[in-house]
Structure formats: structure tokens, C-alpha cells
């Protein structure tokens, strides 16, 4: 799965997610990616999320929605909400996943319970990226 979240200077947020699914899936299987609230969600008032990982797990947990409700109702920032939601999902359902989040203040959240997740973002004149747990590289553009 691949995904993107963007926010502009006026606080407008959009999210996009696309996937081929999971190897060996039955024909007709639908995963989390096209489901609003599971694979994708965007709300200018709260934030935007794109998820990736084990689709059957993400769907049951409505991961994207959970992250944004943590921001909205618990006051968590993008990073805290993303970390806690991903961890709670895996603790409950075993399957692993990751998510990228931008909240309405333009703060970034990146977290995953799987072995790796490739990610990158551009903010100002810096590009940040990583793939391993706790990895965060930055370069000047």
C-alpha cells in the first residue's frame, strides 16, 4: 500500500491511499484501503490519516478514525495518537500496521507496529525519511 497526506498554509488537508492488496487474497477481497475511516480519513478540523499493513486488522479497528478521534477527544497530538492507536490495535488483534498523520496544526505523526514502514515528508526546506523502527533521517532540500 502507498499513501499521502498533505496540508496547505490555510489548513486544508487531503489524504490518498492506493494498494494491490495482499498476496494470495481471494478474488473479490476488499481491504481497508478504500474504506473511509479505516485506510483513509481527512477532516480539516482534526487531521488526515493514511494507513497501511494487515487490512483485515485495520478494518476491524477502523484505525484512521481511531487516530483522529484520539486527537479530537483526547487532545493527543498527531504522533501520540498514531503511536497509541497502532499499538492498541496490535495488542488487541495481533495483526500489524502503520499510519501517517498530519493534525490540524500541521504536526506530523508516523508510527508502525510492523518490522518496517517506508515514509518521507517535506516541510519547509527539509526532507525527512525513514524505514526502520526509530529511524529518522533529515536532509536539506
Amino acid at each position: 500500500t502507498v499513501g499521502a497526506v498533505a496540508i496547505d498554509a490555510n489548513g486544508n488537508i487531503a489524504v490518498a491511499t492506493s494498494t494491490g492488496g495482499i498476496t494470495g487474497k481471494l478474488p473479490g477481497r476488499v481491504g481497508d484501503t478504500p474504506l473511509v475511516g479505516a485506510g483513509t480519513y481527512a477532516d480539516n478540523r482534526v487531521g488526515g490519516v493514511s494507513t497501511t499493513g494487515h487490512g483485515e486488522t485495520i478494518m476491524k479497528y477502523c484505525l484512521a478514525h481511531d487516530i483522529l478521534k484520539r486527537i479530537d477527544f483526547l487532545g493527543e497530538n498527531a504522533q501520540t495518537a498514531t503511536e497509541k492507536a497502532c499499538k492498541a490495535m496490535t495488542d488487541r488483534l495481533i495483526g500489524t500496521a502503520g499510519a501517517i498523520t498530519i493534525d490540524s496544526q500541521g504536526r506530523v505523526g508516523i508510527s508502525f507496529t510492523s518490522q518496517r514502514m517506508a515514509w518521507a515528508y517535506i516541510k519547509g526546506s527539509t526532507i525527512a525519511y525513514g524505514i526502520e523502527q526509530n529511524q529518522h533521517h533529515e536532509e536539506a532540500l
Binding site: 500500500t1 502507498v2 499513501g3 499521502a4 497526506v5 498533505a6 496540508i7 496547505d8 498554509a9 490555510n10 486544508n12 488537508i13 487531503a14 489524504v15 490518498a16 491511499t17 492506493s18 494498494t19 494491490g20 492488496g21 495482499i22 498476496t23 494470495g24 487474497k25 481471494l26 478474488p27 473479490g28 477481497r29 476488499v30 484501503t33 478504500p34 474504506l35 473511509v36 485506510g39 483513509t40 480519513y41 481527512a42 480539516n44 488526515g48 497501511t52 494487515h54 483485515e56 495481533i94 495483526g95 502503520g98 501517517i100 496544526q105 500541521g106 510492523s114 518490522q115 518496517r116 514502514m117 517506508a118 515514509w119 518521507a120 515528508y121 517535506i122 516541510k123 519547509g124 525519511y129
Partner: protein, 178 residues
Amino acid sequence: IEPVVLVHGGAGDIPVERVEGKLVGVKRAARIGYEKLSETGCVLDAVEEAVRSMELDPYFNAGYGSVLTSEGNVEMEASIMNGATLRAGCCSLVKDIMHPISLARRVMKTPHNFLAGDGVMQFAKEEGFEILSPPGQLVTDYAREALEEWKEGQRRGEIEFARTEIGSSNKYNKAEVG
């Protein structure tokens, strides 16, 4: 607010030999999305272009490079959402179209959120999307190998293993699939 474009290229047990290609791809996608945002000022354009760049890249499980069904075919799905209006465009069971994310965005122009199956393919034709011919052009050798490895695991009775990348596995209870 400082504009941000953030992308991911998939989570899982990614084999070490795929790491470099994925990092190159996500950095490229972030740049493409950011340039688009700077050019048009539209966040929907930015996320669509970032995802389109990864749909072209065989290092990613989307578009060209998608993993395969049990029958060896590509079935794709995508979604896009506008945070200002909460309007969404979603599609599933998409075949032989290079950019499902652009098809999903086109769904936003209908009264509906989600189109799938024969209907979304008919919609795609009517909207002028190229349906690749002959079918199966989005199937890569890597995806075929991953499917063969998955089938071998099934034959060995290792039904608790689900593999989305060659050499990788996610272990679940035997009752689970996926």
C-alpha cells in the same frame, strides 16, 4: 501553518533488499507531491500526484507492482478524501488501470463515495481511463514469485503464514487469513 506533504510506501516485513528502492521511491513521491502543492495550491492534487508516482514504481504494492490474488491477477483499490468537505472517492476491484487513485478521485464527481467491480470498470471506460490491453500488464515477476512462495507455504500446510513480500511473513492464528 507550514505546508507539509507526508507519504508512506507500505508497512510490513519488508525484505532488506527492498529497503533502498522503497526509500528512493518515498523521497521522490514526497518531492513530487510538494512540487505539485507549490504549483497548484491544491492538497488533493498533491496527494494524488504523490500516490501516482508510487503506483508507477514496482517497489511498491500499488498500480504496477501490485501483489496478486490467489488466481494470479491484479485487483486494486484506492481512496481519496477532501478534509474541507469530507467528500471521498473510493474504488475497488479495479483491474488493468495504471492509476487507481485517479479513478478514485473521479468517483468524487459522482453522487456516490464508492464504486467497485464491473460498475467501476464501466465508469472508468466512460471517463476515458486507459484499460491496459492485453490484461495482466501490471503483473510483475516479483509479484509472481511472491505468490508462488505463498502457494508453497499453503502446500506445506503453513496456513498461519501470510506473505506480502518475498521472504517475509506475518504470523497469525491458524484461523486467520490474510
